[in-house]
């Protein structure tokens, strides 16, 4: 029966068309991931600096300027993905997008002492805010990026004390409390996001303990 063969040869074609697109996407994502690694590595300076945080601020500013290249890459990615198929291939760029949100949110905290907003994240990555508007920043990628920030900040609070920067943990605590209060507004399913969110309370606790240690030793003169 020739028609049986047709069924499978058309599936075969479908698969090879898909592979072609995936290869294009993978190449672009490889470059995005390399940039994300590079920028994350540069930002590790936060754990090595002492109270003079000029270097930290300078690094954050430099990171933000490097976003132009990232924006261009996301444009190319948009071209590679057929219309209305964002979520068919989204798994490919999920990871690096989360990393970029994380990177930008560190910079936002350092320079402006606040939680990165979705609008700002989108603007700096050159992505739309909603799917209706075009190639967008997936909501959960944004949220996971913020949760990655929480973990990094809790680590930073410990290292800041070691470096003699006693005000940093206080600022981190304020931010994490805000972040927590925001996440508490969300109704989550028992999915990946929920599992990551569960880590937030441990990050918060860690920073609280650091701030407590500073407080009882009278190291926070003007918190």
């Amino acid at each position: 029966m020739a028609n049986v063969t047709n069924v499978f040869s058309s599936y075969n074609q479908y698969l090879s068309d898909e592979v072609e697109i995936k290869e294009k996407i993978r190449d672009l994502v490889t470059e995005l991931e390399a940039t994300a690694r590079q920028l994350s590595t540069e930002l590790q300076i936060i754990h090595q600096c002492d109270e003079k945080n000029d270097q930290i601020v300078a690094t954050c500013q430099s990171v933000e300027t490097k976003m132009t290249a990232v924006q261009a890459k996301y444009q190319e990615l948009e071209q590679a993905v057929p219309a209305n198929q964002y979520y068919r291939y989204h798994d490919h760029w999920r990871f690096c997008t989360q990393r970029f949100v994380f990177i930008l949110s560190i910079s936002e905290f350092v320079q402006r002492d606040q939680i990165l907003s979705r609008e700002d994240a989108c603007q700096r990555l050159g992505l739309k805010k909603t799917r209706e508007e075009g190639f967008h920043l997936d909501l959960e990628d944004f949220l996971v990026g913020l949760l990655l920030l929480a973990n990094e900040l809790s680590r930073w609070s410990v290292n800041a004390v070691t470096a003699g920067d006693y005000s940093r943990p206080v600022r981190i605590l304020k931010l994490l409390k805000e972040l927590h209060s925001g996440f508490q507004l969300l109704h989550m399913k028992n999915d990946q996001l929920r599992k990551r969110y569960d880590g937030l309370k441990y990050d918060l606790k860690k920073v609280e303990e650091v701030v407590y240690d500073l407080t009882i030793r009278g190291l926070l003169r003007d918190s």
Partner: protein, 244 residues
Amino acid sequence: MTEISPPNERILAVFGEIQKELDTKHDRAERLVKLSRDLTIQSKRIIFLLHRANKESREQVLDEAEKKFTFLKDAILTKIRDELVGQDWYQFKHTYSPGIQEFVEALSFYVYLKEGRLLHLGDVHERLSVEPDKEFFTHHDFILGLADLTGELMRFVISTVASGHVEKLRDICLILQQINQGFMLIGNQGTREVTRKMTTLRESVMKVERACYFLHIRGSEMPQHLFAGAFENADDEGIDLEES
């Protein structure tokens, strides 16, 4: 432990909006899961109905099945499609994929019994009045449904042979071999699920080939129980009774 203070204005602005978006997404997913469950149950019932057909009741059963397919299209599949209007349905396909697969399984079984041929993806588009570029299910789901069809064909041939109609055996053996061949063309390019089903399919084909061998050697005078031996363990392996 710290008391969490109520969210400030900025937080409310950022996360309040996110809350609404997440809720909308989850609600839609829930509705689709429910529709998929209904689709699965109703499709399975059509399959049971088709298995009950015998020479006398064949026409009637096929008519009844046809009516049920129309009902499924109007009552469930249309609703699934409506939920996905304006959405990226790839975002939600995992919620209703099982239902689609079961539907394809039922429909392909029906088409084989009625017309002796294998269902095409184009047939499904036609039946659902969907243009190929506006489909809301994947080629993968269609192929997975066909893989499950082979299990039903196995069940069908077992009961047919048991009731003495051995002439169907060769036809079914042939189509199973052709489907198996089709999957071999795909190899492991498909999803993991597809690859898994291929192994099962190969075993099914070999069982039916063995039964054809017995038929050939011993002729139709072969006693019933020896035929049954050809399908030994057929009920345990290769047939997914409980799915999704």
